[in-house]
């Protein structure tokens, strides 16, 4: 059957408009702090809450170059090939989260603190959509 090119019926049009308006509501539920990163490549698959990494907290204590140059973190949320074994072995987060500079890996819930179902990405608190706003 040939698909109809006619606009949808009036009732459906209102529904569509409502859907668009709802989609445009800026961060109705999420009021994350600017730069908060969600990491959920592996967490939930392994029965843990997603990781919330707050940039604001870390940049008060370390300049960007420490993690993004010395530790090798890419400028893209979730792009690093890392897992808990790496962290326990002192790589990535494990360079500090070792019980000496910052809390150690036994304190699971301090990093794995996100709502289940979140996807990996960077939040910008509604100020912008982060990389790739289109």
């Amino acid at each position: 059957m040939k698909p109809s090119l006619r606009p949808p019926a009036r009732g459906k049009r209102w529904l569509a408009l409502l859907a668009v308006l709802l989609a445009l509501l800026p961060g109705a539920a999420v009021r994350a702090e600017y730069g908060d990163v969600v990491l959920n490549n592996w967490s939930q698959k392994n029965g843990m809450r997603p990781v919330i990494f707050p940039h604001w907290f870390h940049r008060e204590r370390f300049r960007c170059k420490v993690c993004h140059t010395e530790l090798g973190f890419k400028l893209q949320a979730g792009a690093d090939d890392m897992d808990m074994a790496d962290i326990i072995n002192g790589k990535f987060c494990g360079a500090c989260h070792n019980g000496k500079i910052a809390w150690s890996v036994e304190h699971c819930g301090l990093c794995h603190s996100g709502k289940p179902g979140l996807s990996t990405g960077i939040m910008s608190g509604g100020t912008s959509q982060g990389p790739g706003i289109f």
């Binding site: 994350a32 702090e33 707050p54 604001w56 170059k65 100020t127 706003i133």
Partner: protein, 213 residues
């Protein structure tokens, strides 16, 4: 000369009295007398109470409320799981960000000022052998269409970042052919940080800051 209390009590309308005696006379003891008049006193008390409540609401609205609302509490930020018992151990953004120089975008913090003025003293390296490099040099970009030229200051960028973050993977010496606002808005080049962790792309004139002569 003011009039006696008895006379003041007889005055039926406050306004009438003020107008008849031209404000000058209705001063000092006259006002005390007026306030002793029950009806006037009651209205005055009401007026004072309303002013206090109004001022309180206005002050709360302009001073207290935004500070509380600017930085969401972790438990209600939509990211942190309120069911996580450890959430109370984490520092609230507002606890520390409210003490730093304020901005009106991003974290509502002027991070460069916070660093320059010593509000924060973040470490530059973990390994003792790491060489910390900074550069105080401006680059002016003139191929900006009709908008003001861009001044890129290396100083605040190298205070936070190492050279290798941008050179040469993103920027080589000389013009960068793909460097357009479209690419930046799409999260490339400057847009990797500006729009995610550094001041957002809505702040046009912080980069497009040089008016061509």
């Amino acid at each position: 000369m003011g009039m006696g209390c008895a006379q003041a009590a007889q005055a039926t309308h406050l306004a009438e009295m003020i107008f008849r005696r031209k404000t000058k006379a209705v001063m000092g003891s006259d006002i005390v007398c007026l306030l002793r008049n029950r009806r006037v006193g009651r209205w005055a008390a009401l007026l004072v109470a309303a002013s206090v409540i109004g001022a309180g609401v206005a002050w709360g609205g302009t001073v207290v409320a935004p500070v509380k609302n600017v930085w969401a509490a972790l438990i209600s930020d939509g990211l942190h799981d309120p069911a996580n018992p450890d959430i109370s151990l984490l520092q609230e953004p507002g606890d520390s960000l409210s003490k730093l120089p304020q901005d009106y975008v991003g974290n509502k913090v002027n991070w460069d000022q916070a660093l320059n003025e010593g509000y924060i003293d973040p470490r530059s390296k973990l390994q003792p052998q790491t060489r910390v490099r900074t550069l105080d040099q401006d680059t002016i970009m003139k191929n900006t269409g009709g908008t003001p030229w861009v001044r890129f200051p290396h100083r605040p960028h190298t205070a936070w970042l190492d050279c290798t973050t941008c050179h040469d993977s993103m920027f080589k010496e000389g013009p960068t052919p793909g460097l357009t606002m479209l690419a930046i808005l799409n999260g490339q080049y400057c847009g990797k940080c500006h729009g995610t962790v550094a001041f957002p792309l809505s702040e046009c004139n912080r980069c497009h800051s040089v008016i061509p002569k």
